[in-house]
């Protein structure tokens, strides 16, 4: 049974210390399924200045369709943050994805600094790309 948002939040809330929280986050990223090498290309590269980030959204057939996300980064923290996104978003419908209050969730688990709309922040671009994909699928 894969972890859901509630379980993730309670896990992250266990840590009083940021060191432990990041240790957990990095471990989450390390457990991600391997990113397929054939999608490590410009088409799947997300704009980010310092770290490299890849994202591949997959639309699963169904009514309504559900979305699945594969992602990777050379930054272990960004990879861990993507693992959080995957728990929140993967297997969900575009409506469900767009309804998630990500800022609120990140604030509750003490990771809000990563959502700053900074041009250097590859992770923020990743979030925008996921939302954009959900919107496109919803409207198609």
């Amino acid at each position: 049974m894969p972890m859901d948002a509630t379980e993730l939040e309670s896990n992250l809330s266990l840590f009083e210390d940021w060191e432990e929280r990041y240790h957990y986050l990095i471990a989450l990223g390390a457990k991600l399924p391997p990113y397929p090498e054939e999608y490590r290309d410009d088409q799947h590269k997300v704009e980010g200045c310092i770290s490299q980030v890849w994202l591949r959204p997959v639309v699963l057939d169904g009514d309504p369709p559900r979305l699945e996300f594969l992602g990777d980064s050379d930054s272990a923290i960004v990879k861990g943050l993507f693992a959080v996104l995957r728990i929140l978003y993967s297997g969900h419908t575009p409506e469900e994805i767009l309804a998630v209050d990500l800022e609120d969730f990140f604030r509750r688990v003490g990771l809000e600094q990563h959502l700053s709309p900074n041009r250097r922040n590859g992770f923020f671009s990743m979030v925008e790309e996921i939302r954009r994909t959900a919107l496109v699928v919803q409207q198609s």
């Binding site: 240790h23 310092i50 930054s75 272990a76 960004v78």
Partner: protein, 421 residues
């Protein structure tokens, strides 16, 4: 570690104890006590912090003397003009400019390079002419020349660096010729701290008949390099990297060169007379200061120049040099850390990477410890590419940094390693 600490206490140049506290206490942003989470600010190469006296000078201007300059005849306007021109004099004295009129206020080095590229160089070059820069340059001393090269058909050439990160003088000389119209070089690399041998570069460039622009962004607050005395033709500094405000800087230029240059922008305060059929321009520096200038910024920068003098330029350089030596030694002996570049002479800046941990992750985690260091390519992508890196961590030191900051950095790095273990 004990060996290192012993070396620290025996380095008399390094500010410690009461002297360090005295300097640090002048910076409101850094004045929190250790227990209240004093920030370790190691990013002065990007922008330094401001001492109280600079903030006071700007507030004093706004509360006591705010009016436009060079225009009104009332007392307030006279005061404002006096403060603004007084700042110009202080900066002229810092740069040892032969004439105060050679000091032009701009937004910073970026605008200075663009001004010289467009007003000085553009009318003077065409196909077959060459502009020579070095691989050590910040993008702001790179891109404006690329633009002029594209506009005019001139060729931009780039002098190589050695594996250690020094300017390769042999390569520099081989690229210098009678076709070289201008050489633009930084005094100190913002990414790896290399100090460029300015005297040799200027002498060789002049021997080839080229004009020389020196980018002083990283050097102005870190010692007396005296590019003007060494014969540079243009020299630019940014206020915010030398304890002054953002949005203000200076380009100094030889008066005969400034006098031959067309204006960079048109507007108020740069004209002598405007008629329906034409315009007579004012003389430099007014010619290059169209519109209402950043008066409070200039006043703040003038005060920052005095602040540097009060610190004692020689004592400051010696302190920073000693602190850099501590940093180099401690990081060299830190397992898993690799310093990027080992230039013969280094000033104020040091880049490093941590094996097995992305630089971005290191910086993110250090931020939680209240340690501000820069991560990325430092706007010097060609240089980092040459050194085989895409992103490094950069520590830059200033008057308010002490060996206690280095200790906290090392503790932070140990914590990073624990997290990744």
């Amino acid at each position: 570690m004990s060996e290192v600490r012993q070396a620290r206490t025996s380095a008399p140049a390094l500010w410690t104890g009461a002297r360090l506290e005295e300097v640090r206490s002048q910076f409101p942003l850094l004045s929190a006590s250790e227990s209240d989470g004093r920030l370790v600010y190691f990013d002065s190469a990007s922008t330094s912090q401001r001492p109280r006296c600079v903030l006071d000078a700007m507030e004093d201007y706004y509360t006591r003397a705010n009016a436009n300059v060079h225009r009104g005849l009332y007392g307030l306007a006279v005061d404002a003009t006096r403060l603004y021109e007084g700042a110009r004099k202080k900066i002229a004295s810092l740069l040892r400019a032969p004439r105060v009129e050679e000091v032009v206020f701009v937004r910073g080095v970026t605008e200075a390079v663009n001004l010289v590229a467009q007003s000085y160089l553009r009318p003077r070059v065409g196909p077959g002419d060459e502009i020579l820069i070095t691989l050590l340059e910040h993008h702001s001393n790179f891109v404006p020349w690329q633009i002029v090269a594209e506009q005019t058909g001139a060729t931009l050439r780039v002098a190589a660096i050695t594996d250690q990160g020094d300017l390769d003088l042999e390569d520099f000389r081989s690229k210098l010729s009678s076709r070289t119209r201008l050489v633009s070089v930084t005094a100190t690399s913002n990414a790896i701290g290399t100090v460029v041998p300015l005297a040799e570069v200027i002498e060789d460039a002049h021997a080839a008949g080229a004009t020389v622009f020196v980018d002083g962004a990283q050097s102005a607050a870190h010692g007396d390099l005296d590019p003007v005395g060494l014969g540079a033709d243009f020299y630019a500094i940014s206020g915010h990297k030398m304890y002054g405000p953002t949005g203000i800087g200076v380009v100094w230029g030889r008066f005969d060169l400034l006098s031959e240059m067309p204006p960079y922008q048109g507007g108020g305060d740069m004209i002598r007379e405007v008629r329906l059929d034409g315009v007579d321009f004012a003389a430099p520096p007014q010619l290059f200061e169209a519109g209402t200038p950043n008066i409070a910024g200039a006043v703040g920068l003038g005060r920052a120049v005095e602040f540097l003098e009060e610190l004692g330029p020689q004592a400051l350089v010696a302190h920073e040099k000693a602190l850099l030596e501590v940093l180099v030694r401690d990081l060299e002996s830190f397992e898993g850390v690799r310093i990027v570049g080992s230039p013969t002479h280094r000033a104020s800046v040091l880049s490093f990477v941590m094996e097995g941990v992305h630089a971005q992750d290191v910086a993110t985690l250090l931020d939680h410890e209240g340690i501000c260091i820069r991560v990325g390519h430092h706007c010097a992508q060609p240089l980092l590419h040459r050194l085989g890196e895409t992103a490094t961590l950069r520590v830059s030191v200033a008057a308010f940094n002490g060996s206690d900051d280095v200790d906290r950095l090392l503790q932070g790095l140990e914590r990073v390693q624990r997290i990744f273990r």
